[in-house]
Symmetry: C3
């Protein structure tokens, strides 16, 4: 079985945001799969997806602090036309990556207890973000 | 064909560890696939999987040296309740990622000669690590 | 439907190179899929694949500047036998990753307008690079 849906994530401020519930609510077909994979793909080059700790907001804040220190706005960038947050956003997006493949078992994501899906917004005003969810497996 | 197995990797010290053989030995179904994909997913937020050089232990030691320099314990972390190695472990886990998708051809992984699967243990005492292996393809 | 092809990418200098067209031209079967996934896997440990901005060459130059600053040749490396660009190349390769999974819809990659596939060449003289493309979906 294959299913594919486009999901629009509402605009969020720069930082790391837990979106697991929002994504799963848009994918009722996931409950029909006994075994499979869910592929999530963000159609942008200045935001990313990652999987990390789903409990403490401190963790998500620390992610933003670390990554903006590692990929700073003050650097020898040449591509600066679209603002100081643009080129760092491109690099951060590739470090974390645009997509996730997640295992599905018995109608649910087979994640660890503490794993949640983060939308990583690297622009100051990134706007809504478009995600393609592709689901496949045995029904 | 779909097959899914949970594999428990024994506890390892902080660092980078070659686990290709251990993972493949748990997946006898892989030999039946003429073409397909193997998806490996670690169910943790403080360890990760990557693919890199499978020969020299120096390479794996240098990975640990570099990543612990890039994501240090001494930093402006706010999430410090679970110990100084915890928050760096979360960031390292997302930099390298929790999963790998590997091509399968004629009953074997279609990797390069030098590519091996690393378990990247980012905690000082991470304990056993649980991995979900999802195999799909044409038998 | 499954299809798998090995694609050889011609040698490129160290840096980030847009290869979307070159890869797609080698995959005529992609046009037959109504829904599916394309998995691209680089069979090397000193080059990587990422998805990023497909328009400005400045962006790709800035990627090279940033990553060679973050993973420098002058560092406490112990694996130095294969040259000063070798161990940094291994780390860079794992940071960006050896593979991409891309959604397919109505016979085309369902990417964002600005997303393109980069071959990230981390060696000074990496030579030709071998890529395994695995295509699956509903025809």
């Amino acid at each position: 079985m294959w299913a594919q849906r486009e999901i629009t994530l509402r605009p969020r401020p720069r930082g790391f945001h837990l979106v697991t519930r929002e994504v799963l609510e848009a994918l009722p077909e996931l409950g029909e799969l006994t075994v499979g994979l869910l592929h999530l793909h963000l159609r942008h080059t200045s935001a990313s997806l990652t999987l990390n700790e789903n409990a403490s907001p401190d963790v998500r804040r620390d992610f933003e602090t670390w990554i903006s220190d590692a990929v700073p706005e003050r650097f020898a960038w040449t591509h600066t036309l679209e603002g100081p947050d643009d080129m760092p956003a491109h690099v951060k997006a590739s470090l974390l990556g645009p997509s996730l493949s997640l295992p599905v078992a018995r109608g649910r994501l087979a994640l660890g207890t503490w794993q949640g899906v983060y939308l990583c917004e690297h622009r100051d005003a990134g706007g809504p973000r478009s995600l393609v969810a592709t689901l496949q497996g045995e029904a």
